[in-house]
Amino acid sequence: MNRAYMTIDNIPVEIAGEKNILELIRKAGIELPTFCYHSELSIYGACRMCMVETGRGALEAACSTPPKAGMHIKTNTEKLRKYRKMILELLLANHCRDCTTCGNNGSCRLQDLAKRFNIQGVRFPNTAEGNDIDDSSLCITRDQNKCILCGDCVRMCNEIQDVGAIDFAHRGANMKVSAVFGKSLADSPCVGCGQCAAVCPTGAIVVKDDTGKVWKALDDRAVKVTCQIAPAVRVAVGRDLGLHRNENAIGLIIAALRRLGFDEIYDTATGADLTVLEESAEFLKRLETARAGGTPLFTSCCPAWVQFAEKKYPELLPSLSTARSPMQMFASVIKEETSRISSRAHVHVAIMPCTAKKFEAARAEFRQDGTPMVDYVLTTQELIRMIRESGVLFSELTPEAVDMPFGASTGAGVIFGVTGGVTEAVLRRISNEKSAGALMALSFQGVRGMEGVKTTAITAAGREVRIAMVSGLKNAADLIENIRSGREEYRFDFVEVMACPGGCVSGAGQPPAGSAVKEDRGRGLYAADKMCSIKRSEENPLMMNLYNGVLKGRVHELLHVNYNKEKIHA
């Protein structure tokens, strides 16, 4: 077979099915600058930073030019450097340049590229004006003055998440990203998944910061502060806190949180075990009573998915599992138990990879006498910020363990943080085969991997049980349409939905990362599962204590929720 080559900066590079020369250039080890290019989004070609020069001296945008055999291009010439600098200078001209006080200070592509291209001054007057900040959402904050109109957020919201909360409005110099009629995000179809913030190259969309409130609680001696750490967090902090890679850093996180002043530290994987038990019981009951071919049982542990269903598919709400999310189950148990022991004021903080959890924590369903079960949700980004601010040298710490009395969790709880994990955990619970071999076999049944849509079938409760796992809300919406079509191949009994592509490891609360890093985080969670001596939720010795103790007679009150209501939260 003939191999096709093209020449990039005088070096021949083989064309191996790349869709555009940008991919090929990056494969050749050249970091071509871009603002509007994301491999998972459609090609937009707006930022013009990826321009390359052809043999004839013409300029082409690498992102929207397909590779051709024999093509000669240069990626770094005097002309290109001049153009790129001019683009940057023009972008900076109407950009709020208060870098030192920006939420994305240090992780901003505009800042990075301005530095890389040695922009030493902006010759144009700054036309960024006024305060155009939308902080109506509990999850993210938007600042129009920092927007460079690359459209990444718009395409993420429409193409990957099918939410369509925002789009471009107006045109020319007046163009901006806006919800319909310029409404605030809180009044838009936004579900708080935060994926727009995850792709925003500047500080125009950032995760809402609640660190100030948590610092205040930690400083208050009268208040007991407890926290729980979600599975996906432990595999996403390493690189940002001075470790070589994103290894499982749960021990170091716990050690750091103790130094920050948290009184008790727990692992949300324990809460996930409760969710597995409750959701499995619900599922088995449904398998017995429901007729085959009815609406499947949908998971409900992803708050962005729950809100998506509420806003777009309210008729599906009766089919959402009533089992609360691990965070909420665990918070009810911790709050209940703590209040039994002492009357001291108690603040519970949940450390999550997720922006939508901030919204979930504030929901009316999860309040007791007006106080939320989870007082504050910190994202992984905020956790990193707090550890840095404290001055604790993360990499020098000695790993520590979680506290008692809720210090036991299983591998099933840990893998909740990756797409397919909830399903695998539930399958471990409901499958009749309990051998180590059966456990291994389960992991090969198509539940693992970062694909947006996965399906599998197993035998449980005496019949074939068909399962679909989707991540990314567009995939969820497509699956729902397919299920509605009633075709046999789309008959499912159980559907796991996670709003973020790849599951919680790709959550918008995590430090921004490419797909390779996200996959690595997923592998980290499966490795953590391997290190757990207990793999099945029902074998967690703590569960027995909880069900015979704090949960006795109160399972429904503390662990379940009904989203299917006329009135949807205040």
Partner: protein, 166 residues
Amino acid sequence: MSARFEYECVDKIVDELGAKPSSIIAILQGVQEEYRYLPPEIFPHLARRLNVSEARIYSVATFYENFSLDPKGEYIIKICDGTACHVRKSIPILNRLREILGLSEDKVTTGDLGFTVETVSCLGACGLAPVLTVNDKVFPAMTPEKAEKLLAELQSKRNTGGAQNA
């Protein structure tokens, strides 16, 4: 605005042009022809029917100058301010009409929804400059005085419950 919006008319337009995203512009034009502007009620309805987001429809509606999100008057007066009309003094005509009706660049429609006064860049009738249109009927070689007289006629027609057409 009426408490209940009748969607039959919108649905008819959608059915005629096809309930697909590529018909957005034509559908919005159809709706605007009917209501003289794009009523906010149509956004969620069209979003459902065309399976696109409301934000996307808003994006199209705000991109084109020709679409209006504000209700327009019964008589829409467009004064041409293309080069030919401009040099033949279209601005004094515009100013006179605005003055009489209490309108400005920002407020283009009278409170009683009687008149809308706006400029257009060129009507393609440069030989008749300066020109204006009232509900798409062309009035050539205007002066502030002729425009004032025309406006008075329209006003009296409106007061006697006259026809829509000028």
